[in-house]
């Protein structure tokens, strides 16, 4: 069972979390090209190695945050809050 580091609650068992995939894709502006929207919703880098991804501390603090994890070794490298509050 992975040990996920929540930026607020510390290292916790995977069963407290929900996964949401690639956190490097950015939601485009509503007026952006359909192609950009297609990329945002559908296409993924899908690397073997370091991957930045969304996790949600569903049975915990209910925050979404980004984890940097190696998809080959499952090693967890770092985690950070989803977005700074003042952005």
């Amino acid at each position: 069972m992975l040990l996920i580091k929540c930026p607020w609650c510390g290292e916790r068992a995977q069963i407290e979390f929900t996964y949401r995939g690639d956190a490097t894709v950015e939601r485009p502006d509503i007026e952006a090209d359909e192609a950009q929207w297609y990329d945002y919703v559908y296409t993924r880098d899908n690397p073997r190695g370091e991957h930045t991804e969304w996790w949600h501390h569903t049975n915990g603090c209910r925050k979404w945050f980004k984890v940097r994890r190696n998809t080959w070794t499952h090693e967890i490298l770092s985690s950070e809050p989803g977005v700074k509050k003042d952005s």
Partner: protein, 173 residues
């Protein structure tokens, strides 16, 4: 192996509270001393709790608190809090009916929690608050030394008791 004693070593008891609130968005800057009328001078850090005047404030995440009282009247307290926090970022949500609250005590209290919670129960000490799972259920655990208070979603209450029954047979409840 020593023969098991026939006295139960875990006690589970449902607790009644008069008020349970989810508080969002309190901050030292905006709330400062606004809660001092309730005996709360400072905000607990994440994963900690403090007691005020018949009021328990537990931090269950960043910018999030559970507030609990045993005696205070719900609607008037809610009103007073709303007034105290007016014009701040804080919001209040009434959850007084939303949780089954269970006190776990006895020599094996940690042992039974370990059977369902993937957190280091042995490392919890007084005033610690942790939201996690027990079995398949979400739970917030408030540690009071060797006693624990669990907050489980009301609709899963029956299931929680079922979980507790299955897992406490060995403690001879």
């Amino acid at each position: 192996m020593a023969k098991l004693k026939s006295i139960p070593s875990v006690l589970l008891r449902e607790c009644e509270v008069s008020l349970l609130l989810q508080v969002h968005g309190l901050s030292v800057a905006s709330c400062g001393t606004r809660l001092s009328a309730f005996g709360i001078e400072q905000l607990p850090s994440i994963g900690k709790s403090i007691f005020g005047d018949d009021l328990l404030l537990m931090s269950n995440g960043p910018d999030m608190w559970l507030m609990q009282a045993q005696e205070r009247e719900l609607e008037s307290t809610l009103q007073q809090l709303r007034e105290a926090l007016a014009d701040t970022d804080a919001t209040l949500t009434d959850l007084s009916s939303a949780r089954l609250i269970v006190q776990v005590s006895g020599a094996s209290s940690r042992k039974i929690l370990k059977k369902g919670c993937p957190v280091d129960i042995d490392s919890l000490s007084g005033a610690d608050v942790v939201s996690t799972v027990i079995g398949h259920l979400g739970v917030t655990i408030h540690c009071l030394g060797d006693e624990f208070v669990l907050y489980v979603l009301q609709s899963f209450g029956t299931d929680f008791w079922e979980w507790a029954r299955l897992n406490s047979l060995e403690f001879n409840i």
